[in-house]
Symmetry: C2
């Protein structure tokens, strides 16, 4: 199953940090890339920089036209999931979504165009409480992959961490050896 994130409603001055968290969460929890429906080279650079040092082949594209992105994903047989507190409980629908070929996870900022609710195959809520699109994405991906994404490896990393009960252990490698 291929999973990507479409980030909507990003405002370059205000949302850089949250959108960067969305992208890094997507990468860490098993998505293959993020489409950003905004023009923000700074966010793209900072996520690509992490991906280059920490391994794997996460992609980021910006200046994406969101409607076309959703329509193309669906036309190729994929399923579009819009995360919204107004949607159906994730625990009730994630099983059905898991049976899909590919999943595009749509993550809005404060305002989302009304059409998105209709274009999405599923409107999904990680609780019906106001909290954080980063948290909603994280729980959704963890449930979609049933926790298996937590053990994922990121090949070609220049830097990695050795898990430790106390303190910090990192391993650095010359990228040419990787």
């Amino acid at each position: 199953m291929r999973v990507a994130v479409l980030r909507l409603g990003h405002r370059p001055e205000r949302d850089q940090r949250v959108t960067t968290h969305v992208g890094l969460t997507a990468r860490a929890l098993g998505a293959e890339g993020m489409y950003l429906a905004a023009d923000d080279a700074g966010v793209v650079t900072s996520i690509r920089d992490v991906a280059a040092r920490w391994g794997g082949d996460f992609f980021v594209e910006h200046r994406v036209r969101w409607r076309r992105c959703i329509e193309e994903w669906k036309a190729s047989g994929g399923c579009a999931v819009h995360l919204t507190m107004y949607g159906l409980p994730v625990q009730d629908v994630v099983g059905r979504i898991r049976a899909s070929k590919d999943v595009l996870v749509i993550v809005g900022a404060e305002k989302v165009p009304g059409d998105v609710y209709g274009l999405a195959d599923y409107n999904v809520a990680v609780t019906s409480q106001p909290h954080s699109e980063i948290a909603a994405l994280a729980v959704f991906l963890d449930q979609l992959f049933e926790g298996k994404e937590l053990g994922r490896e990121f090949p070609g990393a220049a830097i990695s961490i050795e898990p430790s009960p106390r303190g910090k252990k990192t391993a650095e490698r010359d990228r040419r050896e990787a």
Copy 2:
């Protein structure tokens, strides 16, 4: 099991939005409150405002001394869990943590005092990849509560959402009736 969050390293100018997301995520995913080791009345007000309208009895305290908070929690028989990408994989340790009476989840910002690694009973990683403390908290709480927190109710809400496959359905209630 009582669960609370201790937010460390918050910088008032820079981290207001991320810390607000941490607090709202804690509330939505089953924690009973947040201790903020910083002086920031703005964050406290915005989280309390959500809690007052959306129900439940989530607490927020700021100007908390983090070392005393951890020590008092442990002295009363609780367990302190520090979320850090350097720690042990959540999937390996969450079962043991679940057996604890009470859990204090320590969520740092960019810099965390070195002592925290030693004071914590567990240093826990939600992947060893750089991503987001909001995402790490969300996955940790969802795994700790085994998804049961997703169906939680928030009594006394003035506003609530009726889950819907499309669109937005809210119910508003006079708080005096609630």
